[in-house]
Amino acid sequence: MADLTKLAKLLQELDDQMVGCMKCGMCQAVCPVFAETMKEADVTRGKIALLENLAKEMIHDAAGVQEKLNKCLLCGSCGANCPSGVKVMDIFLRARVIVNTYMGLSPVKKAILRGMLTKPALFNALLDLGSKFQGIFTSKVDDLLGSSCSKVLSPVIGDRHFVGLAKQSLHSKIKALDTPAGKSGKRVAFFPGCLGDKMFVSVAEACLKVFEHHGVGVYMPEGQACCGIPAISSGDRVAYDKLVKINLDLFSKGGFDYLVTPCATCTATIKEIWPKLMDEYPATMRDQIRALHDKVMDVNQFVVDVLGVKPEAPAKGAVKVTFHDSCHMKKSLGVTSQPRALIGMNPKYELVEMAECDRCCGSGGSFNLYHYDLSKQIGERKRDNILATGAQIVSTGCPACMLQMTDMLSQHGAKVAVKHSIELYADSLR
């Protein structure tokens, strides 16, 4: 078992973090996967125990551990709730890199992550083509790679009601932007994210409309790459590093006050994950990452906290809107009141809270592809909570959640629209 010894050695670097888990089991209360499967190996405590055992060579079935490790939404609920403050996300991401690298990436994943995602021009060209041939582009998708954005690559899968690729992506409508600060005196770099660029173009356009309305200058360089989350959550460090590098090259220029995204997942990745995984980068890259850590901001937070948009009293319009707290938005970024404030700005709407508004919707990146049934069960609980409010619109701050909720609601034949909170706000502006 010489091989396992090597794997064990690599995992030992996580020991200092894993030892903080006191096995109290409190994560069982919040893990959406555990709520469905009720299996200890699916909850944080179980996963950490298995990784510890792998590190101590007490377990032989590394593939078994890999399977459990990947059966996780990376939603962060457990970490946010852990009495011992265990850095669960750190552990899981690093462990995925170690275990998945060790076990090897599938050739399909490798082709997509390294061959396509890291080449934004090629990626965009292929997908622009794809949007015209949706439906042809549907071969063996279940073996595709990770993250919500993988759906960008798989427009139609089985009976899932996906939002298709937009007819025209943002980058093919607007190549790049470089406008000076207006009356707000602020200038932002805009990172629409893959989903904002290729699926929910209306979300990206809403952001641009809001920037224009408030006189915010925009730097939107051409050739933006994915933030890297699908690569790193598949454990592909090589592709991840390339993606980070491409984006750093673009965003170390441009002279802006904030880096704004409409995707809570992108924001959390840039803010939290990039600094976590930068130890091996050269000093200049580390400095760039630190600078972006300070500048990156969710669009809701930007509009409310920086531009100072706030309703005097929340609107009490005729149309009921309910809000879903995306995991990355609430648990990683701590942004909860700002999107609600933006909804409250539109006189057409009234906000009604749903039960368990901060419970994961079950999207969780590749999780949705590999564990579709489980993802669906988790999503159905969210759907039922949405329906119970009687709202006509469900709003959220993350395109990945929008995809999942659209899927769950439309399969159910429910007539509830799914909208990003920035869209609802933009709609109130002339």
Partner: protein, 461 residues
């Protein structure tokens, strides 16, 4: 591993999906919340109905496989660490139905895998109250609560789990269904076997149904915090409050070490020089609450609390409790390993106990923060260490031994609420007597001749 044929038999009872054989699955049921060595079970079986539960127990007994029933696996004494000899873990988390909540007769019937907080919430929805509230209630199961006789913050006034158990149906080793207790307030039909099942840690029978008592909820409550420059004064305050005939629903204590750890963690500006903090909450109907709160304040002033804060509304109350809520999180974060003890002494002995704990910490050069339920003398000396440091951990073990010694010398008990399990069984005879152990073993042998019901727990092997 059990034979393929035996695995097939289990599968025939509970279905293929509910028999876990993989190495990864089995390893994830090898531990609980106690800081002890893990033991990997040979098989894990998850019945989805109580009928299946009985059949599984019977099959284990027929084949001589030791059984460890597991709820949420949060006990702190090794009660769910399986037996190394082809031990089988039986999960109860699919037996999670609330069968009945009777609002007229104030009782509920539940399966053992119902999560405590979910149950309490369902009961509250109907305008009733289930008081036992262990710190783990968000995940712990009612079966586990009964089998450990779990306590909680409300113990002083409302009692602990045993005070709410009206009846239990449980399987004996042969899978026979034993019925004890009833849905009536009074019941003297036969031996009080339900009482015997409480705190039995899975060593005497396997619960399939539990009848729990419900009470009307208090209408009002008031919380306050008092700061002391001397543990003795805090203790005098506790005695004074009881002597004034006030029974607070919670009366929580934090020592200086805990206060400092919490302050380091929350930066809430707690009084770092204080020797003790008491958090006190009285409840009942509004008039009585106001009166009781006044009496408590008087006592606090009289014994010389250096600071008293009274919460004016729900928001302030939430804030007052913040320090106590953060006690475990703050201590747990301070060092990698957290050994949570629960030696308990008569409440008048709290100052002696706290002093002894601090002396022991100094003697062995380890960090201990003590917090707990001052009203019932149930302290949680929490040892902060790193189990990877062999030398330190040896000192920790000595310290734990001494803590028990002191608790017993003060006429206290080994465990107020966490149970004996494997962690403290070697101490049992010291607190009780040789005859007690013999009596218990004889009883177990008669009930469980093959010694398969969670062997090694409470009374040793």
């Amino acid at each position: 591993m059990p034979s393929a044929a035996l695995i097939k038999e289990f599968e025939a009872i509970v279905g293929k999906d509910n028999v876990f054989t993989s190495e990864a699955d089995r390893q994830s049921y090898s531990y609980d919340s106690a800081v002890l060595e893990a033991v990997v079970p040979a098989l894990v079986v998850r019945p989805t109905s109580t009928e299946q539960l009985g059949k599984v127990v019977r099959l284990c007994n027929e084949n001589g496989n030791p059984i460890t029933v597991r709820g949420a696996g949060t006990n702190l004494s090794g009660g769910t660490i399986p037996d190394p000899r082809e031990g089988i873990v039986i999960l109860t988390n699919s037996l999670n139905r609330i069968i009945e909540i009777n609002e007229e007769d104030l009782y509920a019937v539940v399966e053992p895998g119902v999560v405590t907080a979910k149950f309490a919430a369902e009961v509250a929805k109907r305008g009733l109250f289930y008081p036992p509230d262990p710190g783990s209630q968000a995940v712990s199961t009612l079966g586990g609560n009964v089998a450990e006789n779990a306590g909680g913050l409300r113990g002083l006034k409302y009692g602990v789990t045993k005070d709410y158990v009206m009846g239990i149906e449980f399987f004996d080793v042969n899978g026979g269904l034993v019925k004890t207790g009833s849905r009536t307030v009074k019941c003297v039909t036969g031996y009080n076997l339900a009482g015997l099942m409480v705190a039995s840690e899975g060593t005497l029978g396997v619960f399939s149904n539990i009848v729990l008592k419900l009470v009307p909820p208090p209408q009002a409550s008031k919380a306050m915090m008092a700061v002391f420059d001397d543990v003795n004064k805090a203790s005098e305050a506790v005695a004074g409050i009881i002597a004034a005939h006030v029974v607070p629903c919670t009366l929580e204590f934090m020592d200086q070490a805990t206060i400092r750890y919490v302050d380091d963690f929350t930066k809430a500006g707690l009084p770092r020089d204080a020797q003790a903090i008491l958090l006190i909450e009285v409840d009942g109907h509004a008039g009585q609450v106001a009166e009781d709160a006044e009496k408590v304040e008087k006592v606090l002033n009289k014994v010389g609390a250096t600071e008293i804060k009274v919460a004016k509304d729900a928001a302030e109350k939430f804030k007052l409790w913040e320090a106590r809520r953060n006690a475990l999180p703050a201590l747990a974060r301070a060092k990698p390993t957290t050994v949570l003890e629960d030696a308990t002494v008569p409440r008048s002995k709290i100052p002696a106990m706290v002093k002894a704990i601090n002396d022991i910490a100094a003697k062995y050069n380890i960090s201990i923060g003590t917090f707990g339920h001052a009203g019932d003398g149930n302290l949680h000396p929490t040892i902060l260490c790193d189990r990877r440091d062999k030398h330190e951990f040896e000192r920790v073990e000595h310290a734990v031994d001494e803590i028990f010694d002191v608790a017993l010398s003060l006429h206290g008990t080994l465990s107020g609420e966490h149970g004996i399990g494997m962690a403290k069984s070697k101490w049992m005879e010291k607190e009780t007597s040789k005859a007690t152990i013999e009596f218990s073993r004889n009883m177990k042998r008669a009930i469980d001749p093959k010694y398969i019901l969670n062997p090694g727990k409470i009374i040793g092997a």
